[in-house]
């Protein structure tokens, strides 16, 4: 019985000690956040991982005849690296990917690779990045593939967990003009402008 009491006291002491350490650490982090002010200088870098839902919007052709994409909701993800030029402006590159299904379960894949510039609006502990990505997009449907230009304007909302990590969400518009010159197998009248968007959750790491 005495042995049991001793063990119990030892366990309780240990628990109180560990709990105290944890809460003290939490308090420290809270203090850090209270006093932390984001400030980035040229050369500071960051890395994003994004994942979420791909939303097909509409197609239109050269005569502005709008029509459905006939695609299902899909999935999307991307990796993005950026470097700060100043406290509010960063530039970098983003490699993404998406998939969505056609009415006959054919899978459309698009792999955009864009140069990306972002302007950061900050009100601690939150940040709103407004970005524009421009680059190339590889569309693949069964055995067919085509590389097109892509423009991806986006807006996000991030919460800074600490000076390294932030978590947030983005909404991005995908504008993909799929242009055929008519010199190949596809006639120019089959050019089509793709309009899509994605909504993603994002993890940001600064280093």
């Amino acid at each position: 019985m005495k042995h049991l009491n001793k063990k119990l006291i030892l366990l309780l002491t240990l628990f109180v000690f560990i709990s105290g350490s944890i809460f003290a650490a939490s308090d420290d982090e809270d203090d850090d956040r209270d006093t932390y002010v984001e400030s980035f200088t040229m050369g500071d870098q960051m890395f994003f991982i994004n994942g979420g839902v791909f939303i097909p919007l509409f197609f239109f052709d050269r005569s502005y005849d709008f029509g459905k994409t006939n695609l299902t909701l899909g999935g999307t993800g991307s990796l993005c690296w950026q470097v700060f030029l100043s406290n509010h402006i960063s530039v970098g590159a983003e490699l993404g990917g998406m998939f969505a299904l056609s009415p006959n379960k054919r899978v459309l894949y698009m792999i955009p690779l864009t140069a990306k510039a972002t302007y950061w609006i900050r009100f601690y502990p939150f940040e709103i990045p407004i970005s524009l990505g421009l680059g190339g997009n590889l569309s693949i449907l069964e055995e067919a593939a085509h590389i097109d230009f892509i423009a991806k304007p986006s807006i996000g909302f991030f919460w800074n967990f600490n000076e390294e990590w932030a978590f947030g969400a983005n909404a991005t518009y995908w504008f993909v003009p799929q242009i055929y010159s008519g010199s190949g197998m596809v006639e120019s009248g089959h050019s089509m402008f793709g309009n899509f968007m994605d909504v993603t959750l994002s993890v940001l790491f600064r280093f």
Binding site: N70, L138, L141, A145, Y180, M185
Partner: protein, 386 residues
């Protein structure tokens, strides 16, 4: 660190350039915008079929089992009807005097037998005791039933399957035991294609039909010929070979029957051509557009080809080509490809004619099901798997 990141970015940029961009024929986004769901009307997706018939307002197709539905668009769904008891795997079908004839295999899947029926699921096994060996293939043309056995002998029945006569004038048809053959009828004459040899005449009275092309007699050709198709309106006989060339002869029953014309080019990639059919499509201008459709054979590539306004006045006018969308622009009904059958080997075509230029074109494939292309007053590429 910065150099590493720069290297990574350069690698990422080069990734898309490594993809070879295979063009779709219609454009990826354009194809998606116009894609429609392929509906399945109860036929197995991967069945093989060679023959479809139309009788008494119904269509029947042999696709291992037998299926029927109302003709002329009266019904979308196919209904399975009973095969002969203890027999299955119906491979071939024909129509003579309003009676359906089928070849169905025994339980061991080894020997096919001939049955007749009216399409209500009751079948009568026919007496084929005069056929010396196991039945191989069947064709029913102009109410005459033709059968080959595994020795390559040809038999025919002109009394609707009650008795079979060995056709001594043309037996054996082949040097091999299981050769393919085809027969068609038109202009008062039958035409028989036995792979390397062509004959015309009548059952029991065949004569060699020895056209020449490229300075060679027909039978000197090393490549085999496939299906025959007789176009009654033009009094023209067509066939195609395993290299993808199309052949045509005008007035085949007459003296000019030896003046065959061979297409100048063959189907892309040298695909052998098998199924043939001629369509006559009314145009928005009130005229008629004639089109020969051709399906690739089993042992070659895949897909579907067209010859627009086929003529024998020039070899170019028989060249088979992949369908091009530019043709649809002529149509007053613009409904582009919902799904293609480019992966299919097409055994034969069947045209369900409604009259007034309206028809359903069926493509019977090897292992890729049965497909329908509905003409709604124009060129429509809306192939739908049945």
């Amino acid at each position: 660190m910065d150099k590493k990141i720069l290297s990574l970015v350069l690698v990422l940029i080069t990734i898309p350039l490594l993809f070879s961009c295979n063009e779709s024929e219609i454009g990826i986004f354009y194809g998606l915008r116009h894609e429609k769901k392929v509906k399945n009307y109860a036929l197995p997706d991967h069945c093989s079929s060679e023959t479809m018939i139309k009788t008494d307002g119904y269509l029947y197709v042999a696709a291992s089992s037998i299926y029927k539905k109302r003709a002329e668009g009266g019904e979308l769904d196919w209904h399975k009807i009973k095969s002969p008891e203890d027999y299955h795997n119906v491979t071939e079908m024909g129509l003579a005097n309003g009676t359906i004839f089928i070849l169905a295999y025994d339980e061991d899947d080894a020997v096919p037998y001939l049955f007749s029926g009216s399409g209500d699921g009751s079948w009568e096994k026919k007496d084929t005791s005069t056929i010396e060996k196991t039945i191989s293939r069947m064709r029913v043309v102009n109410d005459v039933i033709f059968i080959t056995d595994r020795s390559g002998n040809l038999y025919y029945s002109d009394d609707y399957g009650d008795s079979f006569t060995k056709d001594d004038s043309r037996s054996p048809l082949f040097s091999t035991s299981t050769g393919n053959f085809d027969i068609t009828y038109g202009g008062g004459s039958y035409y028989l294609n036995a792979q390397y040899d062509l004959y015309r005449g009548a059952p029991g009275g065949w004569t060699e039909f020895s056209p020449t092309h490229d300075g060679k007699k027909w039978k000197d050709k090393e490549d085999v010929f496939n299906r025959l198709y007789y176009d009654e309106d033009d009094d023209r006989l067509y066939t195609a070979d395993n290299s993808g060339y199309i052949y045509a002869v005008d007035s085949p029953s007459g003296a000019s029957g030896s003046s065959w014309v061979k297409s100048d080019s063959h189907a892309s990639s040298g695909m052998g051509l098998q199924g043939l059919a001629v369509l006559r499509i009314p145009t928005s201008a009130g005229s008629e557009h004639k089109m020969l459709v051709a399906g690739s054979g089993i042992n070659a590539g895949r897909g579907y080809f067209e010859v627009h306004n086929p003529r024998t006045s020039n070899r170019d006018y028989l060249d088979p080509k992949r369908p091009r969308h530019s043709v649809e622009i002529l149509s007053n009904y613009y409904d582009y490809m919902s799904f293609d059958i480019s992966k299919a080997a097409i055994n034969s075509f069947f045209v369900d004619d409604y009259g007034d230029g309206n028809f359903d074109l069926y493509a019977l494939t090897f292992g890729y099901g049965v497909w329908k292309n509905t003409n709604k007053g124009g060129y429509v590429r809306g192939w739908n798997q049945e």
